[in-house]
Symmetry: D2
Subunit: 410 residues, 4 copies
């Protein structure tokens, strides 16, 4: 039997590559027939991994991490019907049974049976069940027929693997943000945050037909990247106290139709507060820039408890944003993790028909498993790159300067 | 020319009946051809009038108040096409022009032209434009063709006027709460607040097919009324620290599909905090009782500024509720005033075909204009009645004991 | 091992009760671990069974029929996780794998793996796969975790079994008709056909908040039943050439918001054509009575081929209805079988909280398996009853005169 | 007072430019205060004008035609509030009052007061009311505040006038087809017809995120144009009997998610029937190529009566398409004219932010009023051009070879 090397969280600000057990076809302590073992071909470091990396969750040291997984089926249970050995598949980070009420309503992010602690399971994540993390060589996927998205053509999949690797979490997460923000043809949008989620939200806005996308961040490198690869308008929020004035310069009106908070509870302030955490800042700015009757999607994470929170309210999950003003404006606010399965097939189709190329947009950088600890360190510092681990050496570094944009044919 | 008597706000906790001018066919200081003058047949005191009555807004003393108006057309401008003298009509409390972007998208609650201060106009209301209040004998309705809902048959309308009088605000407000909470056939619902908005939300839940409606309040009289007239399940929140335990007793599960905050920023606490204002309590309870992926409608009012707020956060419109937990549960939160025009025709039809009778549900009490000051006083104390002013003496007191329930034929 | 008696189609207008094999835990010729064997507690004769009974399909003689099944789990495969021996469950007539694209999008009526002939499998039905019919003592349900709806409480389920028995097909079918017809609070509705599907559509309209439901049929007995148990308005279409005139008598306007064709391709004409099949009549009448911009739901079945069709166009599945007029009116037409899983949980909840009682509405009649041949004969003649087979003697005849209506608490 | 020259229908296959009256500020025989007079800057010839041109409607000879109008306000009624003299505006072809039930529900295509014959008014169109046609120098627009879409910036509007001219009908018509066909991110789409409506539908599909758009026509010139300017896949339906085979060559699967019938009742057949009218052909092909559970949008016109129809069924508006098969596949079919006001603002925004450039896609050709008769002749022959009349000489011919495509920034 093969070994299995994996990225393991060992202490705040520390991950190590360690040997772990090769996956067994078991779940909850008993043998299963509905699972598959994947050879992992691509597995990405996610912004939400940083919550754990920084020690802002109660993840146990010694836990293998990672939940953005793309792989090849190398072993399958007797009950698996739709998958064959050798199939290339995308793994939604939500682990869903396909048998509970929530899964049957496609709220797979709240599966009632894959996590004893609360609804919703995931690979290698704090409080989301006992599932092995996916920044590894091999992993078990339970309920494989329900969970996995099979790419229709193996060769085509291998060619676009770096794009397809974004289907397990970050692309659907950004898309969910855009959808729940009500983005549609002709919309004007403000996105708080130009990190990978913000970029994926921006791409998604364009796919949904947005007319103008404005991204705000205090990191000028990230803003420049959003402008050059996606054609977004940008606002450096560290330089401005009144964001609506900057929006008015772009739109001739200070308010947008839709807003997306792609930052979450670790938000910095803006203007003279840009150098410190202000947990309500992304929400407050979103409320501020939205037109009356507008909609706010919040893919950025907020936590019920954050022992490292900078204020008392932050510690107890009460960011104390301007809800009174949101009510006065009649806003709708949509929160929570994405149900990947609602979107991954249609986003896969967009990739396969070349409507969207993510690699350069996200500044994808292929690294070996052994480079993961250094990549975590850089990513935590805010480097404008998306790291993809390459445990079996099948990924190629994307060509520098490859064109990121795709004509929609219009 | 006739005189015009009206209920006028004169100081915190004081309204008086005074003579005011008979309405002119004018708006923004110039003659208009699109308006009508109504003889007011019914005009209700609304819970939101209490915000002004208590001095918690910046309404100027001397302002005639009231915005729930039903009347008869007695004068019409030359451009009015769909209405005739003698027509009986319901007046949406939102004053909308039918010509701006928001009105054309049916966001009539955010009309861009009837209020210079911010989007959205209303009759006799703080910060909602210069329009005469409707607790009076006569009132001007501008943009009459667009605004008014004409009852199809005069005689039929006069017979059901006490029910139809609820179409101008409170019934659509409750319905909007239920709709935005995602209530549908088979839903289980928790409603925070058994006042008139809570009761209208409960009626609306049943109309939308809800399987079980649970209402929470600390006022036992209101709860008893909800149980006896509507068949709601009830929870006295003053008596319980853990609301989900009480829900589990009704549903065999501690969580509901949908929640409606029908209280707003003047919420009391629950359990041992029931005797004082806790501005986040209705929101926190709603977040607590909702299932993962659930939806929260908030017809209860929250204010950007509340100088009488009990906490610093309350004063600046930041109720500091458990947003982190809401995010973790993936909730959607929908806020703001109702666009009455989206619902009033269908609710009128429900009344005219006798699917719903509101008078007894709301404990409607008909009073004269002169009794308004005393009615405000009692209503502010929490009396379980809905007062309807009868400026022209055409309303009859509803029969005591008339059946409130209507079979849906199922 | 137990025997298994079943209702078997033997020739046009003939079914017989015969001994068949006890179900094996197998599908497509191989052993499965995801199935359960049910002891059937209730199994209904459906209007669509009559298409086969009349020889208007190519069902092979010797096939056990029946697809409306409620039962108790008595055997389960090793991969079944959410069900226990003794659980009482409702079986959606659509057999769905929960693993193909269509099932994952909840289009379970078009499962891609349970029928080799075309998308969509069912029990005991022409062209819908090799699955044993459910008018029997025992039946296999594959993919049991995904397919089955478990009733939360065994005792409560046994008490309401006659109502819950309608969840496997006819109640969701009627509800789908109402939903796809766009029925909502305040709607006026015309339903073509007062048979069981028409009655279930009418119940569903009320649950969805319809203000007025008008049912048309040429069978006066069925109309009287709809009026007396549901309070529907009725039109005997055999007596009138112009249906809109009759609608105008009820509504004061000749057009309705929504229409439901609960008849399908075996429609009779109306007026002087009421005594013969006119395949386009239900569609033409629906188009005629709908308001401009209205919506038509078509739960009534239309067939691609009908060798017994009365016209050349009917034989080749082209009913030649007034599509030009439908276009001129801007109608939307929604067709096809119901995906039961989208609705059965919420309708179950409505039954369990006593919002709706179906037994008397449908004139439910409990009979033994041996009485099935006679029941088919009577049902084919248009008797206003819904026959429920009682293979294991656990059902009780409903009390005559039990109240069909349920207050919605309004 | 100025004169007014207009394109007038005089006989089948004949239009002439004639002098007509300058518009009066009147409607229904009386003076109005809600109208404006426009100097027409651009007015297009529409495919639906050909129905009248060919004598297939009962339009009276002597009627000025044209309903795609863009102009400048040069006179306004006293009740007009949101428009100023000199504003550049798009005129929705639907004339809507903004005061009836249908307008208040945004079904402006079925306005109840602008046409005595049936719901829905338009400029210069058979059976759609007495309104002057817009292929003229000047025209009256009633209910101007409600009807007109004002371009935010005059200079910007003049620069993009040829694109903005498509907002009055054809772009929203194509968009409505795509929306009602359920097109969304990742969809695969078949469009029957590569004329201007088909092209606008294709553009709209891309704006909505479609992954692959396949257009079918028997006119190779049109197909080549769709391929070269939009990147569509194409099928020459004259050369193939089995369209699904051709689709399979593109998609690796024979069925599409969505279909759009952009042809209507004058459809030619396909394969060996391509040389003659087959009124059901576009519908039959759409039913054939759609996946189970798919959706069909029908912007192509079907008529209740067509005295020139090629079959008896065609004459009486019964195209006799395969409805049985549509039912078996569970299709939804959406028909009728577009309510322009639902879409024109968002499409205008898409144009103004340069997400879409229509001029070259539609092969826009600017001509003088006097060239209209010849343009009608060529357009009727199927020339792949969109003619825009230039009554006041402000339009410039688009640059040959200007790039039609716009990067979506992805």
């Amino acid at each position: 039997m093969a070994g299995n090397r994996a990225v393991v969280y060992t202490a705040p600000y520390t991950v190590q590559v360690q040997d772990i057990d090769y996956p067994k076809m078991e779940a909850k302590g008993k043998a299963i027939s509905h699972g598959v073992i994947l050879q992992i071909l691509a597995t990405n470091i996610c912004g939400s991994d940083l919550h754990m990396y920084r020690g802002r969750t109660d993840l146990q040291p010694g836990t293998p991490v990672g939940h953005e997984i793309t792989g090849m089926v190398i072993e399958k249970g007797s009950d698996v019907e739709t998958l064959e050995i050798g199939d290339i598949v995308s793994v939604p980070f939500n682990i869903s049974c396909g048998r509970c009420r929530n899964c049957k309503e496609l709220d797979t992010q709240f599966c009632l049976s894959t996590n004893d602690l609360k609804p919703g399971g995931a690979y290698g994540y704090a409080e989301m069940g006992p599932w092995q993390g996916g920044q590894a060589e091999y992993v078990l996927v339970p309920y494989a027929d329900f969970n996995l998205l099979k790419f229709p053509d193996r060769e085509q999949a291998m060619e676009r693997l770096l794009d397809l690797a974004m289907l397990s979490d970050i692309f659907p997460t950004g898309f969910h943000g855009a959808v729940t923000a009500g983005v549609e043809v002709g919309s004007t949008v403000y996105i708080a945050g130009a990190g990978p989620v913000g970029l994926c939200a921006a791409v998604s806005c364009y796919l949904l037909g947005a007319a103008c996308v404005i991204v705000g961040d205090y990191n000028q490198e990230r803003l420049d990247h959003a402008a050059s690869t996606l054609g977004c308008e940008t606002i450096n929020i560290a330089e401005h106290e009144v964001i609506t004035d900057q929006i008015a310069q772009v739109l001739k009106t200070p308010l947008v139709d839709c807003a997306i908070d792609a930052i979450g509870y670790e938000a910095h302030g803006h203007g003279h507060k840009a150098n410190r955490e202000v947990p309500s800042d992304a929400l407050d700015t979103s409320v501020d820039v939205l037109r009356y009757g507008g909609t706010l999607g919040v893919p950025g994470v907020y936590m019920p408890i954050d022992s490292k929170g900078k204020t008392l309210h932050a510690k107890i999950g009460r960011p104390a944003f301007e809800f009174g003003r949101a009510w006065d404006k009649g806003l709708t606010i949509s929160t929570g993790q994405v149900p990947v399965m609602r979107y991954n097939r249609k986003l896969m189709t967009s990739i396969l028909f070349e409507r969207v190329k993510l690699s350069r947009i996200l500044n994808t950088t292929v690294i070996s498993l052994d480079e993961a600890p250094e990549a975590y360190r850089q990513f935590e510092q805010g480097i404008a790159q998306k790291f993809v681990l390459n445990p079996h050496g099948v990924l190629k570094q994307p060509t520098v300067g490859a064109d990121a944009r795709v004509a929609i044919g219009v």
